[in-house]
């Protein structure tokens, strides 16, 4: 299937140059809160990707019949319905992860990535481009989550996906986990550093 340039741009842009977390500064709340461990971060990334893609498609389908004045409420209802479905599915098949995500799952509704993309893209573009834009933004969000969670779980508890990766002899020789990494504050500082790296790399390319 040959994709037009615009469709490709809608998908690839958010992965790097127009990343929702690093550049547009959207969806920060959940990006920071669920990244203590890798597993909830992965589940959260996937859930958000699915919800952004589907809600983009739905809103793009009905965009011509939405009255301008009440569009925000309509978008919110579409998103809330999708989030309810995802949260019920997670409660049925991955109960422990759903409990770990707790309120942050429900907070996908007010995740600014969703409202931002619906307002800025799905309201004015066709269904195919909106789907790609949703997927791109979802993955752009997910990879940041995974990177932050990887660092925090590895340094904070010496584990990845709940399995110990730092061997016992390291601990015997005096290595200890960095408890700081488990605190909420370190998530902020890590994201700050990722933004720093991302910007300095992209600035160099631009020159």
């Amino acid at each position: 299937m040959a994709l037009s340039k615009k469709t490709k741009e809608a998908f690839l842009g958010p992965l790097n140059l127009n990343n929702p977390v690093l550049v547009q500064i959207l969806g920060i709340c959940s990006a920071l809160a669920v990244t203590v461990q890798l597993k909830p971060a992965l589940v959260m990334g996937i859930s958000v990707t699915i919800i952004v893609a589907l809600s983009n498609v739905v809103v793009s389908l009905i965009r011509k019949s939405i009255p301008m004045r009440i569009r925000i409420i309509i978008q919110l209802v579409v998103v809330a319905a999708l989030v309810t479905i995802v949260s019920e599915v997670l409660k049925a098949f991955a109960y422990d992860v759903a409990m770990q995500l707790s309120v942050y799952l429900g907070l996908i509704i007010t995740n600014c990535i969703l409202m931002g993309r619906l307002e800025a893209f799905a309201m004015t573009n066709n269904v195919k481009d909106s789907l790609m834009d949703g997927l791109g933004n979802g993955f752009g969000y997910a990879w940041i989550l995974v990177v932050v969670a990887f660092v925090r779980e590895l340094l904070g508890s010496g584990k990845l996906l709940g399995m110990q990766v730092i061997p016992d002899w390291c601990y015997e020789h005096g290595y200890s986990n960095c408890g700081m990494m488990l605190m909420p504050a370190m998530a902020l500082i890590l994201v700050g550093c990722i933004i720093w790296a991302h910007r300095s790399i992209n600035d160099k390319e631009a020159k």
């Binding site: 925000i72 919110l76 209802v77 007010t110 605190m183």
Partner: protein
């Protein structure tokens, strides 16, 4: 009464919406460039929080849980919040144009502020707790205390960050870190400072 006061103080400091739960981060980072606008948004958040949370509490206790409709809570809560924000906007516009001019632009933003929705979802979890628990919300008074406390906590956080950012204008920050990068790190350090409240109990 004692319980409500403890809940109020805890929700300002120990369970601060920004530093403990990262709620309302998007507008927190976007609107904290100067103290005046930050204070405007903060007041609007306190206002909307104080109205929506008790309403959602009543809905949760008298409608959703007796009828076993818990799975509808997301849609119901967000609809209440969006409707109340719309209503507040219209009422304020009619009766106090000066307040409307200072709050006006922020009100629509608040419908999608996670601090508001998040507080309602926390309330939903806390209603089920044992009444002896310091975090429990057992009656409407507790709901009010929690709502006002969370709002004030958010207000304090955004005004503090705006103050720091105003001062930071004069600092020599590495170029790629300027703007949003250094803001993240600042908030991280502020969150560390706020952690000293975490054992707070009355």
């Amino acid at each position: 009464m004692e319980h409500a006061i403890s809940l109020f103080v805890r929700s300002i400091f120990a369970d601060n919406m920004i530093f403990a739960f990262f709620l309302g981060m998007c507008s927190y980072l976007a609107v904290s460039k100067d103290v005046k606008t930050a204070a405007g948004l903060g007041v609007a958040v306190i206002f909307v929080e104080t109205i929506t949370l008790p309403i959602n509490y009543l809905l949760q206790v008298y409608v959703l849980s007796p009828l076993n409709l818990g799975y509808l809570s997301f849609i119901l809560f967000i609809a209440v919040i969006a409707a109340i924000v719309q209503l507040v906007e219209m009422v304020v516009e009619k009766f106090s144009p000066s307040l409307y001019n200072s709050l006006g632009i922020f009100l629509p933003l608040i419908a999608v502020n996670c601090a508001i929705m998040g507080a309602s979802l926390f309330m939903q979890q806390r209603v089920m707790l044992d009444p002896e628990n310091v975090k429990a919300i057992a009656n409407i008074g507790d709901a009010f205390a929690f709502a006002i406390g969370s709002g004030i906590g958010w207000f304090l956080a955004i005004v503090a960050l705006a103050g720091i950012r105003e001062k930071m204008e004069y600092n020599d920050v590495p170029k790629p870190l300027q703007g949003i990068g250094i803001t993240f790190i600042t908030v991280g350090l502020m969150a560390l400072a706020f952690m000293c409240f975490s054992g707070l109990n009355i």
